[in-house]
């Protein structure tokens, strides 16, 4: 690469009023000897862009530093193609909109950003394309309604699908259904399960290959290149390749044998699953074969209960309303009672609830079931407290149905049997469901190219499963398409860089292989990591974890950041101008700083901000670098971690927190206050608080006094 840099300083957006732009030019020209350094009054204008284009061609530049607005603006304006590296120095957001104009500290701040970004741009390299013989076919695991829908929707979009089903028939749980809860307006009537039509479509679609009576023996590889081995008919093996995987293995009904407090041991107390099968087979009867004239449905049986399933399975109310209808269909004299805690029929299911409420033979009441007793004639009496029918009521019935919830099928069985160093299953995020726990990105999992759909993804009903199936299929197809182009997926969609390892210096400490949130790295017998590029999301956790610093990206490395730190001018302690380094996660913190700028919120001129892809990429050597050049304090600002994490790489900021806690000891040994290094959880909403956080930190730094290593 030519490595010819042009530095351009925009004097618009008050940068010209806030700073002496000619002096900033001198920093670039004299200190860095860049071949070209110009200023322009409005760099984003057509004229400004033409200047850049002209210089790129005439001066043979291949990299630009733009001292102008934040990189979150005008990305397309300043896009000159893949061969040109564009580095943005936010002189607007970090200087002219947030600092007093024409002051010495403001000028020093701007000059440092020119230094930092000119240093960085000269070290960045273009990405090397990642190539792979991408397999386009999808693997869908599970031939129930969800799996069949994922397969069919993918096939209709033109993709081949391998559909693997452990039984010898398609249909899964839906085969047990008598009828379906309403899926279409007016949402008042139950519907035929419609399974045969779906099965017929799946069986006859030319792009779907069925693998019946098969389970997954193993899956190895990476997106675009998964090697799958199937165990067929408990003995034979089959191999196939897939580009992405949709796990649609369904839910498991809760083990009702544990519901002794609800009388499960009695003859005429059964589960909602058994009741559905009974209705499907024709007659609703007691265990002794007599017709059941009255049925009590007990909601939340083993759900919303800390002793059983703490969550709600979301479909049990509508299912019981459906099943109450079965009771009524058997005869006008038949009665159904539904005892609920809350009637969860959200959205247009409300219309279904209203229709059932209008049925004179269905009694619905809120209440707490305090006992379920078998009578001598084998009828069952249910005691209900705090009901709408009275404080304490006892309802005697022929049959009691416990509306049970579900668990993910992956709870006790990894199913996918991933041949990944980090383990065979999908790390689950909450309640045993491998769900992303993001509001905005529901399909993310910690295994790239592998998605979940249906009841294994989240507790959901069959109607929603079909929609979820299409969503997961889309993400699987998208992964194949992006991987085929050598690009990474969410959140750094389109990034073409991936970590490169200088393995000759590897000490086999295994930190990278263990910490990678996505299980990207495999390991040989000695413990040397091997990267499966297509699995990588580009977070840089491995880069941060490596104690010998052998991991880097073409445009993001320990050295680039380290040199940025070292390029900053640190005044000696007599000038009484402390220096605070802020590492800012680009996902939430950098935008928060931009929002502060929009509102012209001011903060200390002593801070220097370095953006990171993720705090998980923090390498502790940067802390030593910062302290040894003389920074008085370092703030790490990134996304929330813990149970309700926000970190877009799921584990990044949490890992940073663990890593940074190890720094305390080192700092104490150096007689430095450990509180000079602090991590903060900053969300975009917190932008008004950030200035206060900086103010408090700066005040504490003042109390500690200057870094004793300054000027050494």
């Amino acid at each position: 690469m030519a490595n010819k840099t042009g530095v351009y300083i925009c004097s618009g957006c008050e940068i010209g009023e806030a700073t002496n732009v000619e002096e900033l030019q001198q920093v670039a020209l004299k200190e860095f000897r860049v071949p070209v350094c110009k200023t322009h009054p409005i760099l984003c204008s057509e004229e400004g862009v033409n200047l850049l284009k002209g210089d790129l061609e005439n001066e043979g530049l291949d990299r630009l530093v733009l001292g102008a607005c934040s990189g979150r603006y005008h990305e397309d304006t300043f896009d000159f193609g893949k061969e040109v590296v564009v580095e943005r120095a936010p002189l607007r957001e970090y200087v002219s909109w947030t600092q007093p104009h024409q002051e010495e500290d403001t000028q020093m701040l701007a000059a440092d950003y020119i230094r930092m970004h000119t240093t960085a741009v000269q070290m960045k390299q273009l990405a090397t394309p990642f190539e792979q013989n991408t397999e386009e076919a999808l693997l869908v695991v599970g031939g129930g309604v969800t799996g069949m829908t994922s397969a069919l929707e993918s096939a209709k979009a033109g993709y081949a699908v391998h559909l693997v089903e452990k039984e010898d028939r398609l249909g899964g749980f839906a085969r047990k259904l008598h009828r379906r809860t309403p899926s279409r307006s007016p949402f008042e009537l139950t519907e035929s399960p419609d399974l045969d039509e779906l099965i017929r479509e799946v069986e006859s679609h030319p792009k779907i290959t069925l693998h019946m009576s098969s389970t997954i023996a193993s899956i190895a590889g990476a997106p675009g290149d998964f090697s799958v081995r199937l165990n067929v008919n408990n003995g034979n093996e089959k191999s196939l390749r897939a580009g992405a995987v949709v796990l649609a293995s369904g839910g498991k009904p809760y083990d009702a044998s544990r519901l002794t407090h609800l009388g499960i041991a009695h003859d005429n107390v059964i589960t909602s699953v058994e009741f559905e099968q009974m209705a499907a087979s024709g007659k609703i009867v007691r265990k002794d074969g007599q017709e059941a004239n009255s049925v009590v449905f007990i909601q939340c049986a083993g759900s919303r209960d800390p002793d059983h399933l703490p969550y709600c399975s979301s479909f049990c109310c509508t299912v019981s309303l459906k099943q109450a209808g079965y009771v009524r269909e058997a005869g006008a004299d038949k009665k159904a009672y539904v005892i609920y805690r809350d009637m969860i029929t959200p959205g247009q299911y409300e219309n279904f609830y209203r229709a059932r409420q209008n049925d004179p033979g269905i009694f619905l009441t809120k209440g707490d079931v305090s006992g379920v007793h078998e009578n001598p004639d084998k009828t069952v009496t249910v005691d209900v407290d705090n009901s709408l029918l009275g404080e304490k009521v006892a309802i005697a019935a022929d049959l009691v149905v416990l509306a049970i919830g579900i668990e993910a099928s992956t709870r006790d069985d990894p199913i996918l049997n991933l041949q990944y160093r980090q383990g065979p299953g999908l790390p689950d995020q909450k309640y045993g469901f491998p769900d992303s726990h993001f509001i905005c990105f529901p399909y993310e999992t910690r295994r790239t190219g592998i998605f979940t759909a249906g009841a294994v993804h989240q507790p959901m009903d069959m109607n929603f499963s079909r929609k979820d199936a299409a969503g997961a299929a889309l993400k699987a197809i998208q992964t194949i398409e992006l991987t085929r182009q050598g690009k990474t997926v969410h959140p750094r969609v389109g990034d073409e860089t991936f970590p490169v390892f200088r393995l000759d210096q590897c000490t086999q400490c295994k930190r990278c292989t263990e910490e990678c949130p996505f299980g990207v790295l495999e390991e040989d017998e000695r413990g040397t990591p091997s990267i499966q590029e297509a699995r990588c999301r580009g977070c840089g956790v491995c880069m941060g974890a490596c104690p010998v610093r052998i991991i880097s990206f073409k445009d993001y490395s320990v050295d680039i950041i380290g040199d940025m730190i070292k390029s900053i001018e640190i005044p000696d302690e007599f000038e009484e101008k402390p220096r605070i380094l802020i590492f800012a996660c680009e996902n939430d913190t950098v935008p928060a700083f931009d929002m502060m700028a929009l509102e012209r919120i001011r903060y200390s001129p002593y801070v220097r901000i370095i953006p990171l892809r993720c705090l998980g990429g923090v390498n502790l050597v940067w802390v030593s670098d910062a302290l040894s050049v003389g920074f008085d304090g370092v703030m790490f600002m990134g996304c929330k971690y813990g149970d309700d994490y926000q970190c877009h790489f799921m584990k990044g900021s949490e890992l940073a927190n663990v890593r940074l806690s190890k720094v305390e000891e080192t700092l104490s040994r150096l007689q430095l206050e450990p509180e000079r290094i602090r991590q903060y959880e900053v969300s975009m909403n917190d932008y008004k608080q950030v200035a206060k956080l900086i103010e408090t930190f700066a005040s504490d730094i003042d109390d500690y006094g200057p870094n004793p290593f300054k000027g050494m």
Binding site: E75, K156, K366, G471, I477, Q478, S683
Partner: protein, 418 residues
């Protein structure tokens, strides 16, 4: 992969429209995303936090905007509406009308214009709880990041903003333009409006300033809202010490919206948390019929129930009356304990439901079919027409995004001509 034959038109730039557009574009398809307002972001851009994580909507919207900026396959047109649709799957003809924003792409958001603008306009984004100038930034998550002029409110002949703008970004003579596109499939992601609470007799919305709706409460709590995030009484700015949430306000009601909007219980729990976080002494009363927190939302409900200052009372609110010193009296039935309850509080929040924009605004031509509740149910549509988000049914954000992702696949199928 089947040869990419067609274009996808997504109508509506809220969270669902943005999702469908992005997911299709990143899979390799060309998309046109239109939005009637000056900015993308829809309703969620005005929310303070999402349930159950109490996380900021800006976080996900920011990543989506980044994906939009980097993906050259999505053409975004704000201030744009559908004029007319004709044709069929694989080959629709859609006339689009782009209204002028009066600000062009030279705008850098320097904000030299608002100080000189003489005209004030009630802020749409803040549900009329404060005014902006006629020239203003739609909101902090504005996409495109530029100001816009409410031209109808400009005093005749005024062009002070034009003179103040150093970048030549304002053109008060900008005109509407019409253009035509030929998508293979169309996704209606037109979202919702809050049910008009003035139609709720005896709730005094519109009559008493301290009776607000749930969307207004979100703006009160938002850091960029009319009170910079302080939950104060609209009447006098006094800190709110007591609040009543009225669930199912105009929902599950044959006289108003017969269906349940599925998010109002969760939204009230979330907002009760806002009040309690802002004021550890505050007391909250939630009058409900059923508390609907399905699936994993249950944990949010149990956690909120642990707060002894939040009281849940099963019963419909019968009426709202003015009380002393700006307070509001709420009378409701107490079904479980029997009898009536009367409380006098600083603020009443009506948990109103969502009404589909398609129901109230409609689309030219008999192209999109609505069910009795005004939703574009999937099974009612002709091939090539799809709906995502609340346009197809009342759902929470997480579910909307799941559905919108699946709808992208359906739209792609029409684009490849299957």
């Amino acid at each position: 992969m089947a040869e990419n034959k067609g274009l996808i038109l997504v109508v509506g730039g809220g969270i669902s429209g943005i999702t469908t557009a992005l997911e299709a574009a990143e899979t390799g398809y060309e998309v046109i995303l239109i939005e009637t307002r000056p900015s993308l972001g829809g309703r969620v851009a005005g929310f303070h936090q999402y349930f159950p994580k109490l996380c900021p909507p800006t976080c996900g919207v920011e990543i989506n905007y980044q994906r939009l900026r980097r993906n050259r396959r999505v053409q975004v047109h704000t201030n744009t509406q559908v004029g007319e649709i004709s044709g069929e799957a694989g080959n629709f003809t859609v006339k689009l009308v782009k209204s002028p924003a009066y600000v062009n792409n030279k705008c850098v958001m320097c904000d030299k214009c608002t100080p000189v603008c003489p005209a004030e306009v009630p802020s749409d984004h803040d549900y009329g709880m404060r005014n902006t100038k006629a020239i203003h930034l739609p909101h902090r998550m504005a996409y495109p990041p530029r100001f816009v002029v409410e031209r109808a409110h400009c005093p005749s002949g005024c062009d002070k903003c034009v003179s103040a703008c150093p970048y030549g970004a304002i053109d008060l003579n900008m005109e509407s333009r019409e253009f035509e596109v030929n998508p293979a499939s169309i996704v209606m992601a037109t979202g919702w409006r809050p049910y008009d609470a003035t139609r709720l007799e005896r709730m005094q919305f519109g009559a008493l300033p301290n009776v607000i709706s749930n969307v207004m409460m979100e703006r009160l709590a938002a850091t960029d809202g009319p009170t910079a995030g302080k939950i104060n009484r609209p009447s006098d700015g006094k800190k709110v010490e007591t609040v009543v949430f009225v669930q199912c306000a105009g929902s599950r009601d044959q006289d108003h919206l017969p269906y349940c909007s599925s998010i109002c219980c969760l939204a009230s729990l979330k907002q009760a948390n806002y009040v309690r976080t802002a004021n550890p002494d505050a007391r909250v009363f939630i009058f409900y019929i059923d508390i609907r927190t399905p699936g994993k939302f249950e944990a949010f409900y149990s956690r909120t129930r642990e707060d002894k200052n939040i009281e849940f009372i099963k019963g419909k609110v019968a009426r709202v009356e003015p009380g002393q010193d700006g307070r509001v009296i709420v009378e409701a039935e107490d079904i479980l304990r029997g009898g009536k309850v009367r409380v006098e509080v600083d603020l009443v929040v009506l948990a109103t439901g969502m009404e589909s924009n398609l129901k109230t605004q409609g689309i030219n031509g008999d192209i999109v079919h609505l069910d009795e509740d005004g939703f574009a149910s999937a099974h009612l549509q002709q091939p090539g027409i799809f709906a995502a988000g609340v346009a197809q049914g009342p759902v929470d954000v997480n579910s909307s995004i799941q559905e919108a992702t699946g709808v992208a696949l359906k739209a792609i199928q029409a684009a490849v001509g299957e």
